[in-house]
Amino acid sequence: MDLFSNIMDGAAVALTWNAIFYCFIGVSLGMVVGVLPGIGPLPAIAMLLPITFYIQPHEAVIMLAGIYYGGMYGGATASILLNLPGTPAAAVTCLEGHPMARNGRASVALFTASVSSLVGSMIGIILVGGFAPLLAKFALRFGAPEYFSLMLFALLGAAAIGSASFLRSLAMVILGLLLGIVGQDITSGVFRFTFGLPPIEDGLNIVAVAMGIFGVSEIIATVGIGGSPKPERFGLRAMLPTRNEWRRAVPAMGRGSLIGAVCGILPGAGAAMASFVAYAVERRVSKYAHMFGKGAIEGLAAPESANNATAQAAFIPTLTLGVPGDAVMAVMMGALMIHGIAPGPSLITEQPTLFWGLVVSFLVGNVMLVILNIPLVGLWTRLLTVPYQALYPIILVLVSMGVYSINSSVFDIFLVAGFGIVGYGMSRLGFPPAPLVLAFILSPMLEENFRRALLLSRGDFTIFVHGPISASFLLISLLVVLFSIYSALRADKPARSVL
């Protein structure tokens, strides 16, 4: 394997002026949505999607990916300076980052967060470049039973890991699978659950569904809160951490990155989970455990490394297996398919320049983010003084236009509105939206592989446990379910300690 020549090929793609420009647009927008609470990377992707129809597929992918990992950097800034997590993954950053800022060490905290993010990203990128091709080669041997079991594991994992109850997440998985069925059945040509509506004969639009459930419902929930925060003024001198702080932060970055990388590869885990786990681990292993909550630097470094490592590593299952791990990746995969790129084990060998170009663009984008982040801190925090009341109608305009441009379909806009109501209702009742979106995109593949496997085995269900790979996925899935039931029963007992 000549890694070097691959990277050179990738550099030839990622270091053109066009690619650098779109990477810049992606990471800057990611930064902005990361800073602002109430807008995640999903609406940002929907906003930029129509633009991507007019550029090369690899440039489109580079830009959309930039939004995702750029959001991780932006989230840290708002958390540290204002105690306002712009993204769920940044909520943990508030715990130590904001106390540090209050102790007059705001710039140290910002600097540490940037360095940690960079370290986490680099480890994630190395993993993508080194591990993804191997995984893809391995996945080439996957047949229908293996894919079915893998996707079942991904869905059950996503249901088990979230913060909501396992049953409710499972309900969302089933609902998502059902929504994914709507449209014409590829095998028999039968129209399923289309109710005679021509616009949904090809299925529901993933971007419209995700935008309603995440974007619009989030806005409904945030509008009522009102008001915008008054940023406090922090002196931004003395950026460099002390020698002692370095000594504490660097091992924490390593541990955080590893946790993040694992969470990125595991389906359903996601960045928020990675930062929570990394923080919990630091609190266990740190010699300064008594300092936690008062501005312990390792409690800032570890989760920041973790969520960035996750953001990069999350591309591994999406690109090599065609199985996205979280909702953002599901929409990213939808976007790739709009561009005629089918993620799967053969992607790296068939489109090496796309894959390696993306890997190199991760490096470019992360360097840009560090440069954007530190000197422009004042600008990012001033963003928060833009009142949300003026902002959200504009976000709605951009989202509606983005969704409409995908298929020039008015029906898709109505879908956004409808799923906005549904999504808001669900989150009020404690039903998490992320498993639904994940299940939605996996549904057609799950059904196809299920059918194909049983066709091969002439209707014998034991085909799923014949092969060792498929059997292991099913075994892990079973363990996941048993563990969820066990912890739900335990949680039912009174006086349960938190975290």
Binding site: R168, L178, R192, V223, G226, I413, R428, G430, G459
Partner: protein, 166 residues
Amino acid sequence: MGDLNRRLDPGAVLAALVMVAFGGFVAWTSTSYGLGSPRRMGAGYFPFLLGVAAMIVGTAILIFEGWRRQPAATPTAPAASGNHDDGQPWPGARWRPFVLVPLAVAAFGALVEQAGLMIAVAALIVISGLAAPRPKLSRLAVVTAAAPIGVWLIFVKGLGLPFKLF
């Protein structure tokens, strides 16, 4: 069972019942698509399984989560009052976002091909802007006037997206 601490959770019960009814509907509809056999599945086989699964999960939610231990661990909505915007909230501050935000998006959809992009954008902004607890009409007017121009400059002039303007 005789636990006095437990009380009915109407939200969970409602969701569970909807889930069971929905699953039943899906399973019943699926039979008309042709179930086939495991060896040669019809179009209805997979949705039928999912419909049954939905009914099972719905029932499980009803049994295990329909009653909960403590009075409501509902996500506490942050108080909408007390910050620097002036005046009292308009009436219906609780339900206005829920109705007006989706309505604004739907209005954009209804207008974008009939009346054109400019009017659709303006309508979306006015309707959704009124969803705020205390809409600032002056600011809303400025955004309503400026947004269609900005959208036209960026998307139609700049990127050349084919939108019908009026």
